[in-house]
């Protein structure tokens, strides 16, 4: 790697519980290389590069780096900006002026596409800039990767939230519906299933964007569960859509708002409100409650998987090693080895950039409203140590006297 005396790191896209682990892993690893004199961080992703909003992370104390690593969200700030050619030229100007030899971008598939463009433009301009993408996304939708840092902690939150919602619903029976993030991939919604312990525990129904959402089928499913259990807990992905893959939430939105990547904003409570109203009206049920999990599922302070923490740390470390030793640009990818261990590789950016992985059929129940044992086996080891667990009274029944 040439011109490596200064390296630059930035964070892009939606924050996660462990994105700062990757930052800390990178900074601490970089400091071990004598060839690296300075580690710069850019505030708010690529925008910070253009604006020269740099901080010198070489000056951070190790204790503070560890404290930041344990803090969710993106300590350097993030951005939804998607650079075009002109934007990239501005990036080069800044990078050249500061003598930066390597650029590390921690983010999801949109961010990896930014790395790809920057890498290609650098090559065109014959500017020696090593470009490495470090994976991060709660959506778990990056190609090649077994899973992505940030997903296990968000999955743990969703599993714990549904375990609690199931207990609440068991105490006060009715229908409970929770809408979970996930525009195209249902992994995070599917994680709701990991909150189940007893055979009659919810979520009893799980709806994923990988399957067409049919209102009649949905109502029939809910009625079936109510008839069987007298209560019903449902997990719905915000991305569920019709046969044309148009998300229902997008159809409901009065303001159709798009981010710079062309993604329609699916937030707000409209989907949950629509579905709970539908159940009340069509099935004549009274106690029907809907929640939209919102930002708390990706940013809650105090719910994290230690497996996720470790791997997020490691992809940051490996990124520096790959940059120094591999002589090529790429994306750090996570691969499952054994049950359970993880290994890391440097993968060509084109295999990751702007592509989306969805749930494989083997993880989705044939009914289309649940997940398989294979999915449980896939996710369980990622959730980390000390998962809290619900208990029930053994509840020896007393013989009725008046109505016996």
């Amino acid at each position: 790697m040439s011109n490596a005396s200064k390296i630059l790191v930035a964070q892009g896209g939606g924050p996660t519980a462990v994105i700062n682990q990757s930052l800390a892993g990178l900074v601490k690893e970089a400091r071990k290389f004598p060839a690296i004199a300075r580690v710069y961080g850019a505030f708010h992703g690529v925008r910070g590069i253009v604006n020269e909003d740099f901080v010198d992370l070489t000056a951070e104390t190790s204790a503070n780096l560890e404290a930041v690593a344990a803090t969710p969200s993106a300590a350097l700030g993030s951005t939804r900006d998607k650079p075009d050619l002109k934007y990239c030229q501005e990036i080069f100007k800044s990078v050249k002026a500061h003598g930066i030899g390597a650029f590390f971008y921690i983010g999801g598939n949109d961010s990896s596409d930014t790395v790809r463009i920057v890498s290609e433009e650098a090559a065109k301009e014959n500017y020696p800039l090593r470009c490495i993408h470090i994976p991060k996304t709660i959506d778990n939708d990056l190609m090649v990767n077994d899973h992505t840092p940030g997903f296990p902690s968000a999955a743990r939150f969703v599993a714990q939230a549904f375990a609690g919602a199931n207990l609440d619903n068991r105490a006060l029976p009715g229908v409970y519906l929770g809408v979970v993030m996930g525009r195209h991939a249902g992994f995070l919604t599917a994680a709701a299933a990991l909150g189940k312990k007893f055979p009659d525990d919810g979520p009893h129904l799980i709806y994923l964007p990988e399957r067409v959402f049919d209102f009649d089928r949905f109502l029939s499913d809910v009625k079936g569960v109510m008839d069987k259990h007298g209560r019903c807990v449902i997990a719905v992905s915000e991305g569920v859509g019709d046969a044309e893959h148009t998300p229902i939430a997008a159809k409901l939105a009065t303001h159709v708002e798009k981010d710079p990547h062309g993604n329609v904003e699916l937030g707000g409570g409209a989907l949950a409100d629509l579905l709970t109203k539908l159940i009340k009206d069509k099935l004549g049920l009274k106690r029907v409650r809907g929640d939209t999990f919102g930002y708390v599922q990706r940013s809650f302070l105090g719910c994290v998987s230690d497996v996720d923490q470790r791997e997020a740390r490691e992809v940051g470390e490996k990124a520096v090693q790959f940059a120094m030793w591999e002589g090529r640009d790429g994306s750090v990818t996570i691969h499952r080895t054994g049950n359970y261990a993880a290994g890391y590789q440097l993968t060509d950016l084109k295999e990751i950039a702007a592509k989306t992985k969805v749930m494989p059929d083997a993880f989705i129940a044939p009914s289309g409203n649940g997940v398989t044992e294979a999915f449980h086996g896939y996710l369980a080891p990622l959730l980390g140590s000390d998962m809290p667990e619900a208990a029930r009274l053994a509840a020896a029944r007393v013989k009725k006297i008046l109505k016996g």
Copy 2:
């Protein structure tokens, strides 16, 4: 206490993270009294008494009681039923038939009113039934009590959620608004303030049902924070209302649904969606997000205050002791002694039943959109050990070269 060979416990109202601690405390304490031969539990509150849906808790293993104690929600099930005279007579029939000498009801102000009615009807009928109310509510709105079991754990969830939302908002600046439970009392919404650490941390604005919600003032507040910080985090109680105390959420509801206590259901995402749309339309801001915390704030599996756990356990224990030694009915109340310790008393049911405590003026900032240091001092010791804390990069700025 006469006829105490069998005692009966039930749980009422909305579940909490620690209501099962009170159940376990009561059962374990009762087993120490030789005079108490059996501890019955009724499924789903007073409804379970009428239906003779009893379990024999004397037969629960201690290990399982401890596991249940650590589980949120109501292990016996709950109910929103509010007994009238006829309902009470059904209760007596069942209680008499099973030879029950003491009735313990774990619940909020509606449940305490149920205990009062049952106590009064028992006296009228000259039936010797000891009636004790055990406090529980995340709303923290019981009179006489310094605070109520369940509130500290829910407050911890809200504080951690807003600490995370603040980090997320700092990474991707804009407006974030979270709607928190609390129909009449703002304590739980106010708890959002305990997630703040650095001076510019959110929530920057907190709106409580104790103050009239004015839309113009709200928009002006948000604009002021945006001008100062370039971002804004807002906590809003679901119960905020106009000068006539009509909740805005109730006005928005297309289906006005009331529970048996006459409370209008304030759930759903309508309030958050209304307020975020207002900010977008009137202030011309783009990145405006709103979440409704919903059931997760009271039932999340894995967020609990150890102070709350201990106190919830103790009110269950004290209830049995008061029943056996005090010779009168009442409600167990929590009183603050020192900084911080708690003591317990038996208070007349009339002082608690169907009354609502709201935030004292000393806890509400004069501006009406925040809380005071006194509130921080009140709540901080209740949140328990090991509150997670956010960290920031020290972030030594690099001198700009091109734009310097």
